[in-house]
């Protein structure tokens, strides 16, 4: 009985909070046309300024932003942009697909066949993020 009261109370509270929220949704498309690697601080003085793509650590930190405010990413990027690197199955590594974009931080540039033996043995954690649960067909072709 107490559980039912708690659940009903929680639902009522959430309904009340929902009814009173009244926020406007983020635009589905960024209102201004942006160039590649925008510096968000040029216009935004609030927290959106932190998404400055030209910051040297943006690539290493973008996972934090994606995990907390994915909708913001979606206002400029289609799903395909993320899938270029975060694929669930892929034959061609991103740096081969975009060899005309040397400035992009794409994984596995150069001779990664040799490098993966070093990374895989000393730092498997870096592999798991992308290959631990998906995109592991090529791993499994040798590592049964």
């Amino acid at each position: 009985m107490k559980n039912k009261i708690a659940i009903v109370s929680l639902l009522l509270l959430m309904t009340l909070l929902y009814a009173c929220a009244g926020t406007t949704s983020l635009p589905r498309t960024h209102p201004e046309l942006l160039s590649q690697s925008p510096n968000c601080t040029e216009c935004h003085t609030d927290s959106w300024g932190a998404l400055n793509h030209r910051a040297p650590d943006f690539m290493s930190k973008h996972r934090f932003y994606a995990a907390s405010t994915r909708q913001t990413c979606n206002s400029c990027h289609h799903e395909s942009f993320c899938t270029d690197c975060h694929a669930n199955k892929e034959d061609i590594k991103p740096s081969d697909k975009f060899s005309d974009a040397p400035e992009r931080s794409l994984p596995h540039r150069g001779d990664y066949m040799t490098q993966h033996r070093i990374d895989g043995k000393v730092n498997p954690v870096s592999c798991v993020k992308c290959h631990g649960r998906t995109n592991n067909v090529r791993c499994a072709s040798c590592h049964k």
Partner: protein
Amino acid sequence: MKFTYTNKSCLVLGAGAAVLASTLLWSTPLIASDYSFSGESNTIFRMRTSITDKTISPAYEYLRLTMTDKLSNGSGVAFHLGAWGRADLGDKPDDHGTNGNLQYAYLTYQAAKNNSVFTIGRQFISEGVAAERIDGVYLRNDFKYGIGVSAFAGSSVTTEALANPKYQGGDLIYGSRISQSDKQMYSIGLSALKSESTTTRNYREEEGLDLWLRPHQQVDINGRSTYNSITNGWMENSYAISYAPTSTLSLGADFSHVNFKDYLFNVTTPALSVNNPLWSYNNKQTAYGAGASYSASKNLTVAADYKFYRYDQSGDASYFGAKASYKLPDNLLAGGGIHRMNGDVDKLRYTEYRAFIAKKINQADLTLDAINVNYDKNINGISNSYVVTGAAGYEFNPKLKVRGDLQYSKSPDFDNEVRALVMATYTFDTKFAAEGGTKSEK
């Protein structure tokens, strides 16, 4: 129940997507003005030699489609689809001769108020502790006092189903994230996910705390802690801070600590599992580092970084270096860098060099990129490995671009390897700049 994608089913899906795209493309004049339909087709031919001396020459088609319907009340519905297929024109790299994948296909609704989102289909979930591709549903909503709630449920997408149930990825996955934020100052989130399989109800059970603090306009702090409730241990603690005292200078530092037994628990790749004898079950990895970037002029940026790693079984290692880039917009891009890995063990002692230049001449662009790694101790009798890539592209019009590249490499595995790739990119969009800045598939 999990559906396993065979090559045949992937090919059928890819063909279906192509037929759908063609139908929609040709019918676009009939579509009402509130609709927009955009997409991108990448047709790729590659050529390389495999490690077993086979000549591999596959042809690929990557197709990305987006259809959106902007409703009059400010809400919107969109359908996104991405898939690829491969046919081998030369020797077969595997037993199949064809391959393919449905990368994503989902229908999503976003309300005009409260950031309400409902999505159904194959999608990538990125919510706190969850970074999963699922076939399922996702919903989120904002509430009063900066509270946001999201939830998802479905089946994990795994592409290499192994016989051992331990590596099959579970059958059902669900989770949620609740956050509280002040858009000027901070966002803090609590999240959890659970995965069940036919053999166990506790395949994965993880909880996470994520935070984003912006105490000052020039300071940005992000971090995440994740906990494995099955192994009863912290999987990862990872935090980073940035400070930009001026518009030309940026400083940053980060820290992370990972416990293998908790982090590598029930992954679907045996080589990365805690059961792999390559590393000890109780191994830990700690890393911390710092970096600085300075824009010496509007065109020139220099950066330096340092990272210290502590591995239980490979000792300590420092990775440090510097890089620079020079850019003239729509004309020239040049850059290079040098990094050194200096570790306690032989395999963690090497030096990386990189230089690249890209030049745009009217509708054509040329790129040259070279990467060299010198190993302190030879690998297979080879002291260094290098890859040189030359690429050339031509934009026939804003919708059609063709590019080709040639790659030459020498490595511990290949004496002289040549790879080639030709890619034709065709984009289509029925409504340019309909809502301000259009999104492209790039």
